[in-house]
Symmetry: C5
Subunit: 88 residues, 5 copies
C-alpha cells in the first residue's frame, strides 16, 4: 500500500458497468512514498479531499473491496489518523 493525499476527483458518465456507483479520487503519494506519480483510486471508506489515505493497488483493490468483477486496480482502504516516521 501507499499513503497519499486526496487531491481531486474525476467523473466518467460513459463507463464500464462494473464502475457504476463508484467514486474516483485522485491521490498524490506523500513524499518519499512511491515515485510513480498520482493515481486514481476508488473510494472504499468515505474519504474527502485533503485527507491522508491508505491506498491498495492491484488485485487486492478489487478482491478486498467486494468488487472482484469490476475493472478496479486501486482503492482507498483507510484514512490515516496517526503515524510514526511518515514525513521523515
Amino acid at each position: 500500500m501507499i499513503v497519499g493525499k486526496v487531491v481531486g476527483s474525476v467523473v466518467a458518465t460513459r463507463k464500464n458497468e462494473g464502475l457504476i456507483g463508484s467514486k474516483f479520487m485522485i491521490v498524490e503519494p506523500v513524499e518519499n512514498m512511491s515515485d510513480k506519480g498520482r493515481i486514481v483510486a476508488v473510494d472504499n471508506v468515505g474519504a474527502g479531499i485533503g485527507e491522508l489515505v491508505l491506498v491498495s493497488m492491484g488485485s487486492a483493490a478489487r478482491i478486498g473491496c467486494d468488487m472482484a468483477n469490476a475493472p478496479v486496480d486501486a482503492a482507498i482502504v483507510g484514512i490515516i489518523d496517526n503515524s510514526i516516521g511518515l514525513e521523515d
Copy 2:
C-alpha cells in the same frame, strides 16, 4: 487507475486469438499521473483520439471487461467528462 489522453492506435493482424476484435489505443498519462510513459489499452467504452480516459491495469482490465482469458493487461474503462484537481 490512471487518467490519460488517447493519442493513437495500433493494428496487429497477426495476434493472439483472444485479441481478435479488440481495438488497441495508445494512451498518454496526463502530467503528474504516473511516470511510466505511454501504454496500449484495449478500448472498452468507445473512446476516440483526443479524449481523456480512465485506464485500468493488470488483472482488473481482463476480469473487469469480460476478457478473463485474453492477454489484456490494460483497458480504457471510462471517458472523463468532469474533474477536480486533475491538472493542478
Copy 3:
C-alpha cells in the same frame, strides 16, 4: 521481494473491514534495491522499527499471508538476520 528497513508505521481507525487487526509498517527499500520509494506493508512476522525485513508485494502478500480477501498488496514476510552482497 525486496529488502527494506522498517522506518515507521501508520494507524487508520476508519478502514476496510478486512484490515482490522493488521499492523501497517512503513518500509524503506535498502539502497540499490528497487527505486520505487517507501511502501506500507502489513506485518506478518512481528517486525519492529529499525529491523531489516523481506517484503513481498502483489497477490503474493494477500494469498501467502492468509489474507486472501483483504485489500493488502504488500506484507513483511521475513526478518533478515544474515546476508551476502546486500549492501554492495
Copy 4:
C-alpha cells in the same frame, strides 16, 4: 500492453519445466512507451528480431496464452503492422 521492438533472445537450458519449448525474446519498448527498460517476453505469435510487437505483462501473459501454470510474466501477443501516433 506496450509496443516494443524485438532486439534479441536468450536461451536457458536449465530452467523451470513449465518453460520448456518457449522462445524468450528481448523486447525494447519504443520511445515514450513505458520507461521500465527492456524485458524478456515469451513469443506467442512467431515474432522475429527487428519486428515491432505488442507485449502483454503480468497474469494476462500466462492466462491469455495458455500457459496458466508456467512462470511467465510477459508475452508477445501481436505483431504491429499499422499504427497512428506511435512515434510522435
Copy 5:
C-alpha cells in the same frame, strides 16, 4: 521476465511458514533491462552467485513454481547459457 546477475543472498530465520526451505537470492538486472533496481528472488533452478538468470515476477513466480500459497513474488526460473543482443 528480466535477465539479471545473482549478486548475493539473504537469510531470514523468522519468516512466513510458506517460505521455509526457500533460498533467497539477490538479483541485479543487466544494464538496459528494467530500471527498478535489485530484487530478491526465490531460487527455483539451483542458481549460484555470479550466474546470469531469468527472473519471473508477480503471480507467475508463485503459481509457476509450485508455491501458489507462499508469499513469493519473484523467482529465478532459468539460467542463461546463450543470448543474442543481451548486452547491446
